[in-house]
Assembly symmetry: C2
Homo-oligomer: 348 residues x 2
């Protein structure tokens, strides 16, 4: 990343907040969104990190993100609720939704919360991470509406699903076990990172609009647009089944048709379990830590340094970037600078 601008995380966060406030966000919205994007970049999830800031600022300018949006929580049972995010910033709605699920799980043992009118929530793992930091187990799924249906159903040649990530987190005696992955071979955001860097994609990720394998991000984006392969390789029907699960949880429980062109943003489903109803909290953390240690005790294959659990890499990158700064790729930085000029915010 020789052409990246490297910014210290606190500086980037405060600068992002200023930009968001100048664009019309409330202090709380700016705080949540800036924290979310910088934290995602710190963890190495660049595709859901600060490069989304210019996109969000653009959405505010064009009116598809409402600033100061009212969020309403409609509790439907002792353990279920629908959170209407009012078309505000996605991370603000999603934080409210996971907090609702955490509250339901704490009271009733389990919480199931779905969102409506929720804009792009960025890094899904952020929300389950929040639950695990409070000692809870959390699963999350996130769909996208029809215009984001890049991913092919197994055996098909027309996209019918988004990259539909699944995230989960379990508390341990240290960093949580934290997984966050799309049910396609790759999320669309990662393809964008390759395009911004002018690099070729790994093989086996995408096809072009003619159904031919390609490593050229531009041939994927088109137009006409190509398709992303479902997770699974020789067992792609399993990745398809996972993507469909995410779609069903995100749309049908929210009362929405999966192919409704009027639906925008993300359909998120959070399932939070209070492990304290099963095992005392300290023993629970030790049991999860024991599972982590057992996984990591496997000898690595040749060419691999060590066996990791989900989240290990991210928390390492986080420590490194907290010390060395967050790299912002050239394209994203130029876009951010453009917004700063438009909004009259001084560069850091």
């Amino acid at each position: 990343m020789s052409d990246a601008t490297v910014v210290a995380a606190p500086v980037l966060e405060s600068f992002s907040q200023k930009l968001l406030i100048a664009a019309g966000a409330t202090d709380r919205e700016a705080e949540v969104v800036a924290d979310h994007l910088v934290e995602s970049s710190l963890l190495g999830h660049d595709s859901h990190g600060i490069l989304r800031l210019p996109e969000y600022l653009g959405f505010v300018a064009e009116g598809s993100i409402t600033t100061g949006a009212e969020i309403t929580v409609d509790q439907r049972s002792p353990s279920s609720a629908v959170v209407d995010c009012g078309l505000g910033f996605g991370p603000v709605g999603a934080v409210r939704a996971i907090e609702t699920a955490i509250s339901l799980a704490t009271q009733s043992g389990t919480g199931c919360v779905v969102t409506r009118r929720c804009n792009h929530v960025a890094r899904l793992g952020a929300y389950v991470q929040l639950a695990a930091e409070r000692g809870l187990v959390a699963l999350a799924t996130c769909n996208s509406p029809i215009h984001g249906h890049f991913v092919l159903p197994a055996g098909g040649r027309q996209g019918r699903l988004a990259t539909n990530p699944i995230a989960y987190a379990f508390p341990t005696d240290g960093d949580p076990i934290l997984a966050d992955f799309s049910t396609s071979v790759t999320p669309e955001g990662k393809i964008r990172v390759y395009r911004n860097r002018g690099e070729s994609l790994p093989e086996g990720w995408v096809q072009d609009a003619q159904g031919q394998p390609t490593t050229d991000p531009d041939r994927f984006y088109g137009p006409p647009r190509g398709g992303i392969l479902p997770l699974g390789g020789v067992a792609a029907h399993k990745g398809y089944a996972l993507g469909l699960l995410v779609e069903l949880l995100g749309s049908t429980l929210a009362g929405l048709r999966c192919d409704d062109p009027e639906t925008g943003g993300n359909g998120v489903c959070f399932l939070v379990i209070d492990p304290g109803r099963f095992v005392d909290p300290e023993s629970y953390r030790q049991l999860v830590a024991g599972t982590r240690d057992y996984m990591k005790s496997a000898e690595p294959a040749e060419g691999v340094d060590e066996v990791l659990v989900p989240g290990d890499l991210e928390f390492r990158i986080r420590r490194q970037r907290q010390a060395e700064g967050v790299p912002v790729d050239a394209v994203a930085w130029e876009q951010i600078v453009g917004h700063a000029e438009r909004l009259g915010v001084e560069l850091p």
Copy 2:
């Protein structure tokens, strides 16, 4: 299957019940187990169908399945419970567990149930199917203890997970959407079939003990033993993350260490959601059916007849086998006949 014995499903079910009762099962146990195995065979899941009957009868004879086992339900919160299956027949314990989860979800919106001392539950999809037939949404995961840890963590060369299936079901206006798949590329049993035939394995299934890819079943079995790759191909870290999720839900919530050599059987976790708390039941079925139809509307790839949703193939096979009978392979039939002679049960 020219050497298979074909038996009408009701005949096979009644015969299986008689064998189970003769072996010491209660009427209820015999009914649940026979129904489970015959239903699995009807749906084409032969590996979890009637061929398990002689195995179960053998386990009863050797004492590892307890007949007339006491099952206890320990409710821990309005939406969570632990079901101790008393080392009885796995399907009997698992049916009790899903019924508990259904009851919790009906009362509280969501139900989370884990099992303890649960023997082999056979087809995991059976339990979520039961919930979907009652209009509920269900997810299920199922781990296995350390002696079945054939599956590698990503980057490792020693097995740390079992094939850890995930199942889910959603109600529709017809057959439920019903998915049931392992989080590894293949089960160990399939590798054994290739070895017995002296054939090479497909690429991308296993590694040898040094962590090198191999298509030689003998290099997988060793000793030292290699490992089965997690689902995902180039994205095997995702299959690993899914397998780890299944392990964590199955062991830690039940208060068990993942590597405890004393633990036997399956650790099942059921999550049931009452969609009626979100959407009226009839509209809900229509929304899921709409998602199904949207998936199936994708044009198929060259060489593919049509795009399916999970469960389509199984319910087709079920209709065919209900009409034509259930094939029981020669080896399994011979074993069943042996048990019938031992137990003094007349062949159908």
